[in-house]
């Protein structure tokens, strides 16, 4: 079977492609399993380090450009993982860019799927940023999304399109609202949540990290590994497990920044913690504090989605893989 991963050059995209290659097989929409013959990564740039595997191809381009995706998707594409997005901070700073990539790009992808020979499965990486403003203490499966950022609004529009295109039978779509993914390796990015990885990653690398929010700021977190497992699980569930509700809140862990830093201390010691500098940034605080930090993810739990058992272990796994210890 043939798979497309948008945002395939990003950190999660690369992890996902590696996980799919290792797994080797996926379910088709008709319930049968098939071997993975081809994975096409679609992104705005080549990755820094190519995955060397005959099954992987790279296409570079702008998913917000008209007709680009309709040229990219082979007519026999079975599955799409749609991860490409302009991140929260960037979509807030450049409204038109966010609309073009996050909204037009998602719509163009769904339209490209309509002309496929078989109805493709589409896994859409949505975000808990669809929630904002006054919220109940615990967000449940019934809480109405009320985005207070352009990124959140665009992700929610994407969910609605995935839902309606699925209802019409154009795609077999499923949207999962990702918690903040921690620990991301590499460089800080323009996501408002970028600091959440930075305050673990930089100190472990012996570098200074800046924390722009208060220690008691609570966040809803998921490790990269659990995120990848959940994206693949979202794909593998049969359509009737989703029914008419094609979007859900993923499981996660609630931690305050202070608790995250204590996990850093457990892995990297006091020296690591001392590398964190507190520099409040109102722009970032304003976005992050609209995100909910406590969820009851009953529906996702029942469907078999996973959370991390323990945040210290998440930090330890990061240190093992990326920080040489």
């Amino acid at each position: 079977m043939k798979i497309v991963v948008t945002g395939g050059t990003g950190f999660l995209g690369q992890l996902l492609i590696r996980a799919l290659l290792e797994r080797g097989r996926l379910s088709r929409a008709d319930g049968t399993e098939a071997g993975i013959e081809q994975i096409v990564s679609v992104d705005q740039a080549q990755p820094g380090r190519l995955i060397v595997d005959d099954r992987v191809g790279y296409v570079v381009g702008d998913i917000g450009a008209p007709h680009f995706l309709s040229h990219v998707l082979a007519a026999d594409t079975d599955s799409v993982f749609h991860l490409a997005a302009v991140v929260s901070g960037a979509a807030e700073a450049d409204f038109d860019l966010g609309m073009r990539v996050n909204l037009d790009g998602t719509r163009a992808l769904l339209d490209a799927c309509r002309v496929q020979k078989r109805t493709p499965r589409v896994v859409f990486a949505s975000s808990v940023a669809v929630f904002g403003g006054p919220l109940p203490a615990v967000v449940t499966d019934e809480t109405t999304p009320t985005p207070q950022s352009s990124y959140g609004a665009q992700k929610l529009v994407g969910e609605l399109l995935v839902g309606d295109y699925s209802r019409k039978g154009f795609v077999d779509g499923r949207a999962v609202r990702l918690p903040t993914i921690v620990v991301r390796p590499g460089k800080p990015n323009a996501a408002a949540s970028s600091f959440a990885s930075g305050i673990i990653r930089e100190p472990l690398a012996g570098e200074t990290a800046i924390c722009p929010v208060e220690p008691d700021t609570a966040m809803w977190l998921l490790s990269p590994d659990a995120a990848i497992r959940n994206l693949i699980h979202a794909h593998e569930l049969p359509a009737d497990a989703w029914g008419s509700r094609r979007a859900l809140n993923l499981p996660g862990l609630t931690l305050t920044v202070r608790e995250m830093i204590e996990a850093l201390r457990a892995v990297g010691g006091d020296a690591a913690v001392e590398r964190i500098q507190w520099q409040p940034d109102e722009r970032i605080r304003a976005i992050v504090r609209t995100w909910p930090a406590r969820f009851d993810t009953r529906r996702a739990d029942a469907l078999g989605f996973v959370r991390d058992a323990d945040f210290v272990e998440v930090v330890r796994a990061y240190a093992r893989t990326y920080a040489g210890g």
Copy 2:
């Protein structure tokens, strides 16, 4: 001040323009009142009967066409009432047409508003069709919209855009979810709810009406007059009455088709009722039964929106105005 009414040629559009002319004044975004100097109706066709008033102009064109609306909106437009839409049945039958007019048209309108000298107030006519699927017995202000029709999905996307453009300060938007409007004069249209007016209107005109749903089908109804009052009220409320929640469910009345027909009997007698033919239509039933019929509209009530006191009086007012009786 200058006002644009999209869908200004439609029944509600014409009623709204007449009501605005009669009223003569509206609030500006800064809270001051001003006289209405100009109302521009934007629609795909000229109305059958022009409103003869120096203040009213007509522009004919396709709001889904790129750049059309940006040419139409004068740079000093103060307010927009956005009523233009492909109705529910038509948006379901022609997916691309619905997306173009209901989604692209709404976005084009909001983008045209961004370049105005003053931030325009935008009143968006949304619909209770944003609700669908399994719903609580009574829909409240907290019930999550889960559209099960393309029309409903497109209206909800429009609400989200109105919300985010408002948050960004591009417009001062407010979206009201209209109940089914009964009694509409004129011809049946492609709305799945068209029969709800037809079973009153046609019998009062001595003609046969077809009812495609069961007598115990309950609907959430509002008269045209109350709808117009509510659209204008939505405009007149100050921005801080809306806060970060820019969409709400309007008040209405819950009636079964049987109760609607009893109101017809009270006004038109048994002879009128006998002109109704029962012809179940699965396509229409499938759409209508996804719409909720019972609401608790606490927020709208507190903000001063209105409902009809009595459905017999709604039928009587229709008969007086349109059916010569």
